[in-house]
């Protein structure tokens, strides 16, 4: 292919270079495309999917451990649990007490009270009686 920007000397040089490189390529033929091609595409999720699964498993284990060992009202209720209890009490005493989710109430268990309250003897009123 002649290039109009090349003069006669350049054309000769170009032909010389082309012949040389073409001879090299003939002597060193390429491998088959299928040999060089990686074939099946590896999904880009291949690397992060195991990491995500591991993270979810750890989170599940953590949640179960928390439920078993440190849930509010348990033996080892933490200050955070106590704060949650106070929050629940505040919500129940508000005019919107009926908005408190039932699940919260069901999950609620007051921590054991470590103090003796004064109680007059014989003063036992059942729940039914108190409602009358």
């Amino acid at each position: 292919m002649n290039d109009p920007t090349l003069d006669r000397e350049d054309e000769v040089l170009k032909a010389t270079v082309r012949d040389g490189l073409a001879a090299r390529d003939r002597a060193l033929p390429p491998p088959r495309f299928a040999h060089a091609w990686p074939g099946t595409e590896r999904p880009r999720t291949a690397t992060w999917r195991p990491a995500l699964a591991g993270g979810l498993a750890l989170a599940a284990i953590g949640a179960v451990s928390w439920m078993l060992l440190a849930r509010p009202g348990g033996e080892s209720a933490s200050p955070a649990d106590l704060r949650a209890t106070v929050e629940l009490a505040r919500e129940l005493s508000s005019p919107d007490y009926w908005r408190v989710p039932t699940d919260d109430l069901l999950a609620f268990a007051a921590p054991p009270l470590n103090a003796e309250l004064p109680s007059p003897d014989g003063f036992h009123v059942s729940l039914e009686e108190s409602l009358l």
Binding site: M1, E9, D10, L13, K14, T16, V17, R18, D19, G20, L21, A22, A23, R24, D25, R26, A27, L28, P30, P31, F33, A36, W37, P38, E41, R42, R44
Partner: protein, 176 residues
Amino acid sequence: MPDGPRLRHNPLIDQRELERLHEQCFSWALTCAGGRRAEAEDVLQMTYLAIVEGDAKFSGRSSLRTWLFAVIRNTTGSRWRRARRSLETLARIAAFAPHAEAFVEPEMPAENARVLAALRALPKRQHEVLDLVFYRDLSISEAAQVLGISLGTARLHYERGKAALRARLADMGPAA
């Protein structure tokens, strides 16, 4: 233009078009790898892997061929940079290492071998520009894109490369 399957992570690339350009890509990889066949094959495999996995993304701003040549050249460069960081790899590829891939001059007529030797003796950039423009029919502008240099710099390498190659061929005299 072939209309074959598109790559998932490079939707602008048609796999059949890649296959059609495979021979040219290997030839350019050979140039980048200094004529070492095994190195050229490795470079091409890494290039294809980067394309398949989308690490090298074709955006259609240049022709596919120009882009491929640039990726092959960059892949060759990054392999060498990594190799320098590893003494073991350096020992493998360095010319003095006993188990390095020896450069074997392929069987060819003496005149062609003389031209290849003269080309290899040129500074790398001049060698690459002449290869791309003379042998692969790229414009100087496209060669500049492949090499990641400005058009002015590519022109300079082109002119100096031609002059240097003529001088070397003249010094070497006619083939025996």
